[in-house]
Amino acid sequence: MEDLGIKILGAILTTIMAFAVGMTYGGITRKLTARVQNRRGPTIWQNFIDLLKLQSKKSNIAHGFMGHMAPAWIIIAAITTLMFIPVLNGNLWFPNLTFHGDLIFLLYIMVFGSLGMALGAGQTGNPNSAIGVSRGLSQMVGFEIPFVLALVGLMVQYQTTSIKDLMEVQQQTGIWIMFSNPFSFLAAILASLGMFRYSPFDIVGAPAELASGPVSEFGGKYLGTMMSGGSIFAFIKLTLFVDLFMGGAGNGSDTGIWATLLGIVILLVKTFSLYMIPVFYGWVSPRYRTEQSIQYFYRWPLALGIISVIWAVVL
């Protein structure tokens, strides 16, 4: 019973941390982007302020059952995915459910939220939402392919499909996978540009064309809940990359409070530096058209992915 209590407590703790980190990263990005564009910009806590405002709105508009459910799908997908990703190496406080699913499962559960959200957006009846969804799904077919190739490369090289085992391999050998299979890392990073949807891949929201796309009809508690889900998702993607390519964070055996805190700090440093890659890329890029965005992933990222699998087979 005590075990279960710690697990539930750990799960809640993980969720809160993921939420806070995701929101703060978003805020920092807004500030940095503003400074690059020679604006003053909002404070880095602006996302929290926005959320508070949205959640405290007294009137909300719903467009039917699927629309009402849309934010719930995102939260479900976000928290469930989070439960299957090891946050720190073998730490007692973040055990979650890592041993019940593997990489293939992860690839699919991550789509769950987008599709649920897409259905909700579809029911609102706003044409911009549907166009955004059409673009988003098309783009997904683009970036998923190099990403899967990168993952297959890892699976083949280490003969495992579990994230936990991949982290352990890196702990034991002391070499991060980003160095032992650099092509896989590069393919995955290029694919992540599409996942984070900063310029030039911001075709889904496309503020100037689609009035924020799929979310255009949502406001108040709905938009607020979506924002929280999105922030958790940002943390999930970053942690997944750190786990897979950068050896995870924290050292497994020590579960003391200071070791845990140190682990979290290391995790934050690694995730933040990864997060800046799509952000930096976005600052210097205009927006692609949808087909250009898809074709982008079928050039270098795809080639790198194929090389990563060959590399893994040859090794």
Partner: protein, 617 residues
């Protein structure tokens, strides 16, 4: 009387009674067909077991009927879907004409499939195969639309398949002297001469709709009445998989070591054909605007995954294939029923013409949603379990790393048409034309709901279905199939626990749903789909702004090179070539008696002139 024989007799009698009952009242014919199939199904599940066998001699040929754990899986699909589809059919076909004709062929198709499942010799297998083909052909041309284009295409490909199969059966008899399937396999009929298994595989690939023999599929599936397409796509196409399973298992297990290169060749080409089928059919499903056509292409794509699984010949691969075969029958059956319900209630299935049916047909939408989640392979429903096994089999057991990526491409692009289907029919702004539409009648909703519930239950407890599949794999020669009630594992030891996934999703769902619904409940206003922000423009009341035309145009543009060539065009060109050839021969075969007389004279003269060189002795 032997129960196997009895089941077939009941089906045959029922078919005739259904035909005659149409004179009484059309609806009686449908009810008779439902009762017949249900009786046969009840008899099968209560009276028949693996011990049951029926042997007799017909015209000097020993025939043998029976059932084993492998064919039992397919019997489950045929009888399960048969009963539900015929129940659905009663009200779906209510106002249609020539119901006697339709129901006769419907029951005959079930009879054909049941016969194939029972057959343990090649002769009855072939006879029942032809019964199945002919009855389905007659239903494909039932509504009289585009008979020439669709019906003939189906018939030509079926005929090619049948001839290939017949040639193989005759060679087996010639070389090995037996028609009994088990004896032939033990004698090495399917593993010594490669042309025999290849010919058989061609026959089965036609029914399974594998590239390049798939072109009959989209037309035939979408042109039949939906209550039959449920069986057509869900069960009838699986007969091809049944045959492939038998042939490939024999080939993989019995082939001599020095034939391994040939075996590898067949295996790899079949796997790649499956993958290409899945990918190409998927991208064509994406650009369809007719919901029926979309599902038809999707069926071909899904059969591609099953073909890959069965072609791997590994434990997890076969398990995945059989699992998907059943699950595909369930969700595609449900989806074709959904389209049928929409067609009956609205009058069209063109997604550019209808939208926003979710409020009018909520139950149908619920079934569509669950089935689409299963089709797309999203956890926690049963479709995901099948997909997971396919991937794990390919990665861990066969080293087909690039094949995995093609499959993944197909399956990701599958999200596109999955969404298109739900959006096209049920979401978006409501049309004024469809204001009168009501939910489909209960006898149509109930079979759909049953199928949807199966998807949810098998999703949480895949072990329920894997249990009979493990028995089937025992028959095929795979022992120690490893599975739990809700835990799956691959050869590398990784595990997937569907129950904890389901629970995690369930708990979060309840919490967030409660949060969204209860928080600020008073302030939440539920508005219609016309009340939207339009960036300052004010649309007229009758204007429908739903984005339906060219929904995935950017995707189409991005993959333009893939859309350029199509197998359909290639076959058509082949057909035109043949026509040109026949036109050319017509110059000689003019049909004029005098010309033929001239040929005879010329021939005789030539003979006389050349008699010394031709007939030396």
């Amino acid at each position: 009387m032997n129960s196997l024989f009895l089941i077939l007799i009941i089906l045959f009698g029922g078919a005739i009674v259904a035909y005659l009952a149409n004179k009484l009242a059309p609806i009686v014919s449908s009810i008779v067909s439902f009762i017949t199939i249900t009786t046969a199904a009840v008899l099968f599940f209560t009276q028949v077991n693996t011990e049951t066998i029926y042997q007799f001699t017909l015209g000097g040929i020993d025939l043998q009927w029976g059932i084993d754990y492998y064919t039992y899986i397919f019997a489950m699909i045929v009888f399960g879907l048969g009963v539900l589809a015929s129940l659905y059919s009663i009200q779906y076909m209510q106002d249609k004409e020539r119901l006697g004709y339709f129901n006769f062929n419907f029951v005959m198709a079930i009879l054909g499939m049941t016969g194939i499942i029972f057959s343990q010799d090649f002769v009855s297998f072939f006879i029942f195969w032809e019964i199945m083909t002919w009855s389905s052909y007659l239903i494909v041309i039932y509504n009289g639309k585009e008979v020439r284009k669709i019906g003939i295409k189906y018939m030509i490909f079926s005929a090619i398949g049948a001839y290939a199969m017949l040639a193989a059966i005759v060679s087996i008899k010639g070389s090995f002297g037996t028609f009994i399937i088990a004896d032939a396999i033990n004698a090495g009929a399917l593993s010594t001469n490669f042309y025999i298994p290849i010919l058989l595989l061609i026959g089965f690939a036609v029914k399974a709709g594998t590239m390049p023999m798939h072109v009959w599929g989209p037309g035939a599936y979408s042109n039949s009445p939906m209550s039959f397409t449920t069986v057509f796509s869900g069960a009838l196409s699986k007969m091809g998989i049944l045959g492939m399973g038998i042939v490939l298992t024999a080939l993989y297990h019995k082939a001599a070591i020095n034939d391994m290169f040939g075996v590898m060749f067949i295996k790899q080409s079949l796997m790649w054909l499956g993958a290409i089928t899945a990918a190409i059919a998927t991208i064509y499903a994406v650009i369809q605007t007719d919901a029926k056509k979309l599902l038809a292409y999707s069926s071909i794509a899904q059969l591609g995954y099953i073909t890959i699984g069965i072609a791997t010949g590994t434990k997890l691969g076969i398990m995945a294939a059989l699992f998907l075969a059943v699950i595909h029958g369930v969700f595609k059956g449900a989806l074709f029923m959904v389209v049928g319900a929409v067609e009956r209630q609205v009058g069209t299935t063109d997604m550019t013409k209808i939208s926003g049916l979710i409020r009018k047909m909520p139950w149908t939408f619920l079934v569509a949603l669950i089935s689409i989640i299963a089709l797309a392979g999203i956890p926690p429903l049963a479709g995901f379990v099948g997909k997971w096994m396919v991937y794990e089999a390919l990665i861990t057991e066969t080293n087909s790393y690039f094949l995995v990526v093609v499959v993944f491409f197909a399956s990701t692009a599958g999200f596109l048409y999955s969404y298109r289907f739900l959006f096209g029919l049920f979401l978006g702004q409501e049309e004024d034309d469809t204001a009168h539409v009501k939910e489909a009648p209960a006898t149509m909703i109930i079979p759909m709901m049953i199928l949807a519930v199966i998807l949810v239950v098998i999703g949480a407890f895949p072990g329920l279905l894997i249990d009979p599949i493990a028995n089937a794999m025992g028959v095929m020669g795979y022992t120690d199939v490893n599975f739990g009630l809700s835990t799956l594992s691959n050869v590398w030891g990784e595990q997937l626990n569907m129950q904890s996934i389901g629970m995690s999703i369930g708990i979060v769902f309840v919490v967030t749903f409660a949060f969204l619904s209860l928080k600020g409940m008073k302030g939440t206003k539920n508005v219609g789909t016309k009340d939207i922000s339009t960036s300052g423009e004010i649309p007229y009341d009758h204007e429908n702004m739903t984005y339906q035309l060219d929904f995935f145009k950017p995707f189409e543009r991005a993959l333009a090179p893939l859309y350029k060539r199509s197998m359909d065009k290639i076959w058509n060109q082949f057909g035109e070539g043949l026509e040109a050839l026949f036109d050319f021969t017509r110059k000689f075969n003019t049909g004029n008696g005098q010309t033929y007389a001239l040929y005879v004279v010329v021939f005789l003269v030539l003979m006389l002139l050349l008699k010394d060189t031709l007939f030396i002795n």
